[in-house]
């Protein structure tokens, strides 16, 4: 976890882009992934572009591996379920877990896998490289009330406090002999009661202090909110969005034209 929530402090080229560029990047990734959802051999290039994006942002690829690794069973099942719909279509490749996997089934299965994972990685880049302060401005710019964005910002700010309090309380209860990390899942769930009770009391005890702080700073006084550091769209943002648009519309165009990397390599 970064300084606040998922944000990772950095001065990379991706960090320096306007958040709106990264939001549009997500939209392009989603659109391209939808178009390529039946062909994993093309959708993989969208995924690779995001891996490059993560590397450019200086984000540890371990994060990506954790996401995929944590749900590996789920992803394999997803690919197999999709592949099972196409058992009788295409060239037979192999049988796995009772599913007759064909080349068409595998292309669809992997295409759907990338349809799930690509937007997730794109959002991961977005939240890891956009400062929570700027998030509020993005919310305002897309027409949401600033209070909505502010609530999210405040939640993210309080998150690190909540998590550190949670860990402290867990340590204290462990020291008192309560097995909060017991191997027995039922015992572990039950032992969270002496963790959650002090946690809620401690954190909610801050509600009045926090609201007084907000009040004395004039929160809610005006319908419009001003920002000390407003978002500024620069030439590098324009260049970035043009490059992003060219790359993803290119992928969409070649896919719609019937191109498939697999069929090109296989010579079918």
């Amino acid at each position: 976890m970064g300084e606040v929530g998922l944000y990772v402090e950095g001065r990379s080229v991706i960090h320096n882009l306007d958040p709106r560029v990264k939001l549009l990047w997500f939209v392009f990734v989603l659109a391209a992934s939808i178009v390529c959802q039946f062909d994993g051999s093309v959708a993989v290039f969208i995924f690779l572009s995001l891996v490059v994006g993560m590397a450019l942002a200086g984000l540890p690829l371990k994060r990506l591996l954790l996401i995929v690794g944590y749900s590996i069973v789920f992803f394999i099942v997803t690919i197999l379920v999709w592949a099972s719909y196409y058992q009788d279509v295409g060239r037979y490749l192999f049988t796995f877990a009772g599913v007759r996997v064909t080349d068409v089934g595998l292309l669809v299965g992997t295409g759907k896998f990338f349809l799930i994972i690509n937007p997730i990685v794109s959002m991961l880049i977005f939240f890891s490289t956009v400062k929570p302060y700027d998030l509020v401005q993005v919310f305002s710019r897309i027409g949401l009330p600033y209070k909505a964005g502010f609530m999210l910002l405040l939640s993210l700010r309080m998150l690190s406090l909540a998590v550190s309090e949670l860990r402290n309380i867990m340590d204290v209860q462990k020291a008192r002999g309560i097995e909060v990390d017991s191997r027995n899942p039922f015992k572990r769930v039950a032992n969270l009661i002496p963790v959650f009770v002090p946690l809620v009391i401690r954190i909610m005890g801050l509600a009045w202090e926090l609201s007084i702080t907000l009040m004395v700073r004039g929160f809610g006084y005006s319908r419009e909110r001003s920002y000390a550091f407003p978002l500024r769209w620069g030439s590098r943002d324009t260049i970035a969005i043009i490059l992003i648009a060219i790359f993803y519309t290119g992928i969409i165009a070649v896919k719609l034209a019937g191109f498939s990397t697999y069929y090109m390599i296989a010579g079918v």
Binding site: S155, R157, L166, V200, S211
Partner: protein, 239 residues
């Protein structure tokens, strides 16, 4: 757990979940805009989203998101089924803090998705689905103290009876319908949505909300009320 979904089939559940989705979305929009449904119809609520409401929402979101992320994933069947004890806080926050608490639960779920790296289009369904888990006991229970037989009976009717039916099933069907509808955009196979995801969400929520929530509610009602944060002490319905 999956039997009712397999026996009744996808079309049945899609139709039922569609109705619940529409009702849930309308309720969410009404509550956020400061209106609520009562026996007298739709009435205005004295909810101004002032500094206190915003603070309560933000703190509950941080608590819920942090609890889900930090205690999430206690495996029952490794790789397939796990419980998230943090879910126990969802109905509790609705009961204690009202709409700001329910909105905090929705934002908290969104944050947990972001923290665990699963934030995507599907999270929009999870946002309102989690709001509903908190909203149902807030709205339908009259006594939120969980310190009287009546309060407990009300909780188990609206919060959890029939294995978490009312709020947990509503939440599960809400999200599942969204995932089914947006299958071409999200990519989850419909068979997996109704055969695995929907029963799993119900199981997951039911396990912790039937066991942990009433105990937590019993222990936390007084401290929260003493601090003046209990929603009935702050929020009034327009006459």
């Amino acid at each position: 757990m999956t039997q009712p979904f397999v026996v009744l089939g996808r079309d049945f559940w899609f139709a039922v979940a569609g109705i619940l989705w529409i009702v849930g979305t309308v309720i969410f929009a009404l509550e956020i805009s400061g209106r609520t449904i009562t026996r007298r119809g739709i009435v205005k609520v004295d909810l101004r989203w002032d500094a206190v409401d915003v603070s309560v929402t933000a703190l509950t979101a941080a608590l819920y998101g942090g609890a889900l992320a930090a205690t999430g994933g206690i495996p029952i069947i490794p790789g397939f089924t796990w419980v998230r004890p943090g879910n126990a806080l969802a109905p509790l926050f609705g009961m204690l803090f009202g709409v700001p608490g329910a909105l905090g639960v929705a934002i908290g779920n969104f944050i947990a998705d972001a923290l665990t790296g699963y934030l995507s289009i599907g999270s929009i369904g999870g946002f309102i689905g989690n709001f509903i888990i908190a909203w149902v006991p807030y709205k339908f229970m009259r006594d939120h103290s969980l310190r009287s037989p009546r309060s407990l009976i009300e909780y188990y009717i609206w919060g959890d009876i029939w294995g978490g039916v009312i709020s947990s099933i509503w939440c599960s069907l809400y999200i599942s319908w969204w995932l089914d509808l947006l299958e071409p955009v999200i990519g989850l196979p419909r068979a997996l949505v109704w055969g695995w995801f929907a029963p799993w969400v119900i199981f997951n929520n039911a396990v912790v909300t039937t066991t942990l929530t009433p105990i937590l509610g019993y222990l936390l009602y007084q401290p929260i009320k003493m601090r003046g944060l209990y929603w009935k002490d702050r929020i009034r319905f327009a006459s």
